[in-house]
């Protein structure tokens, strides 16, 4: 297993009260698998991702990557954030080659890799622009290229398309699907969009509302290139919607 999560719990302390965000989560992600974490807001799916990324420490349990315990963030797990989080003082090229420069990759190698990934995300024409000059969708493409250029085996994505408008969102989903067919990364992808999850994932993991636990796992047996209007697609969609609705209803009780 590429990622192994065992007995993971995390409790936050706010105003002297302990609130459990995650409770006893077990999860395994195989190499090259695309797994979506799905659930209502506040179900702890981002907490889980942040623990796998090494940004947060679990209260109990552990995360192993390639059987080695995770103790902090590292270049083996690339992260794509919802709010892009580009380095505003660097150009598009500067952002994409950030990790390569840290590794001390020679200039010629960097140039080749950066060109390849800018091509892949369709931003070759904007290489010398600064983040302030880019739209939200373009910024997120840069963030994806930045993560990929560093060649991690794992990519963690925290609602990466959540801040985009519906059209841009679908375009980027198409692109991410296409990129994954080329790159074959191990992806853990947090979203609250059921359509997005069914469109992208090999497996969809539905989580319960607070505290977050795994409620149900759906293995999506659809062809690699998916049609959002195919009957099988909508079947998965309605199936998962029913399960998620139970959880959303609980939040409002």
């Amino acid at each position: 297993m590429k990622i192994r999560v065992r007995g993971l719990s995390r409790t936050f302390v706010a105003q002297g009260r302990e609130t459990p965000a995650l409770l006893d989560v077990d999860l395994e992600v195989a190499a090259h698998e695309f797994v979506c974490l799905l659930g209502p807001s506040g179900c702890g799916k981002s907490t889980l991702l942040n623990i796998v990324a090494g940004f947060l420490r679990p209260t109990a349990g552990e995360v192993r990557v390639d059987e080695r315990p995770v103790t902090g963030p590292g270049a083996d797990r690339g992260v794509v954030f919802q709010e892009y989080v580009l380095f505003p003082w660097l150009t598009v090229v500067g952002n994409v080659e950030f990790g390569l420069r840290l590794k001390g990759a020679p200039a010629a190698e960097r140039r080749g890799i950066v060109a390849r990934y800018l091509e892949l995300v369709g931003l070759a024409a904007h290489a010398e622009k600064y983040p302030v000059q880019l739209s939200g969708g373009m910024k997120q493409r840069v963030a994806i290229a930045r993560a990929l250029a560093n060649s991690p085996e794992i990519i963690l994505m925290d609602e990466p398309f959540g801040a985009l408008d519906a059209q841009t969102r679908e375009v980027l989903q198409d692109e991410l699907g296409r990129i994954q067919r080329v790159e074959h990364k191990t992806v853990l992808f947090v979203t609250h969009s059921i359509r997005e999850a069914v469109y992208l994932a090999d497996r969809v993991i539905v989580m319960t509302s607070a505290p977050g636990r795994i409620k149900q796992v759906f293995t999506i047996k659809l062809p690699e290139v998916r049609d959002r209007f195919a009957p099988e697609f909508t079947h998965y969609e309605s199936e998962i919607t029913r399960v998620v609705k139970e959880e959303v209803a609980k939040v409002h009780e």
Binding site: G74, G78, V85, G99, L102, N150
Partner: protein, 274 residues
């Protein structure tokens, strides 16, 4: 001939600028010209009708004449150089100290907790109130003048640097760490560039403050410098010399500010590219 050539010179200076910028600059230059004209008229009227001793309000050409006179005697440059040297040394020392301590305090909570209370205690004291103490401690020579600038400029530069480091978006640090950044990478590649806008604001405040406090310290026990020229002018009732030195100080401060602005525009181009 003079009046007709001024608009032409303005046109020449403004070639290539955008229309709104040209309009704004035109008004600004006109405002300066009107100010100089009013000053000239007032000075000329006082000279002609002598309602009081014309020495009190010399016309602009008298002030410029006094400066040219000093320049001809070879004295002007000595005074300008003395002031510039004190400002350069004192400001640089203040900047190095403030940046080093500020960058450290911004990152390390413990350092911040130790340094900040002392800074917050001393900062509200007008620096000029400390000048006599500096003279008592360091003496009346160069040391107290340079040291005083260092002391005065330290505070704004330290405070802005700490703020610059402390307000860094933690997600930028996370992003860098996920790309493989180690602590030293974080400092040079994330913390420093992210804090730079605030640091440069601090430098600008520091430059302005340098020219502010140097004058007063040159009033006391100096043998040269523009502040000395002003005080000397007071003793000997040389109003044109006082005004001339003050104008020069204004120009130097303006140029210093301009230098930092040029630096800002170069290194912060990412904020307003093209």
């Amino acid at each position: 001939m003079f009046l007709s050539s001024v608009p032409e010179m303005m046109e020449w200076g403004l070639r290539g600028a955008s229309r709104s910028r040209r309009d704004a600059l035109r008004w600004r230059l006109a405002s300066l010209a009107v100010f100089l004209a009013l000053w000239s008229v007032a000075g000329g009227l006082v000279e002609l009708t002598k309602p009081f001793n014309p020495l009190f309000l010399p016309a602009p050409w008298v002030v410029i004449g006094a400066l040219l006179d000093l320049a001809r005697k070879g004295q002007l440059w000595v005074h300008v150089a003395a002031t510039l040297e004190r400002v350069a040394v004192g400001f640089s020392a203040g900047a190095v100290l403030a940046l080093a301590l500020g960058l450290l305090a911004g990152q390390v909570r413990a350092v911040r907790n130790v340094v900040e209370p002392v800074v917050e205690l001393l900062r509200p004291i007008p620096p000029l109130a400390m000048l006599p103490l500096f003279i008592v401690w360091v003496g009346i020579g160069e040391g107290s003048k340079v040291g005083f600038i260092t002391y005065a400029t330290f505070f704004p530069m330290f405070v802005t640097t700490v703020h610059g480091v402390a307000q860094i978006d933690g997600r930028l640090l996370r992003a860098a760490q996920s790309l493989g950044a180690r602590p030293r990478h974080l400092f040079f590649r994330v913390i420093l560039p992210a804090a730079l806008p605030d640091v440069l604001t601090g430098l600008r405040l520091g430059v302005a403050l340098s020219f502010f406090v140097i004058v007063i310290s040159e009033f006391v026990g100096a043998e040269n410098g523009l502040g000395y020229l002003i005080n000397d002018g007071r003793n000997f009732f040389l109003v044109p010399q006082m005004l001339g030195a003050a104008l020069l100080l204004g120009l130097l401060g303006y140029a210093g500010n301009g230098l930092v602005r040029v630096l800002e525009r170069r290194v912060l181009r990412w904020q307003h590219p093209r």
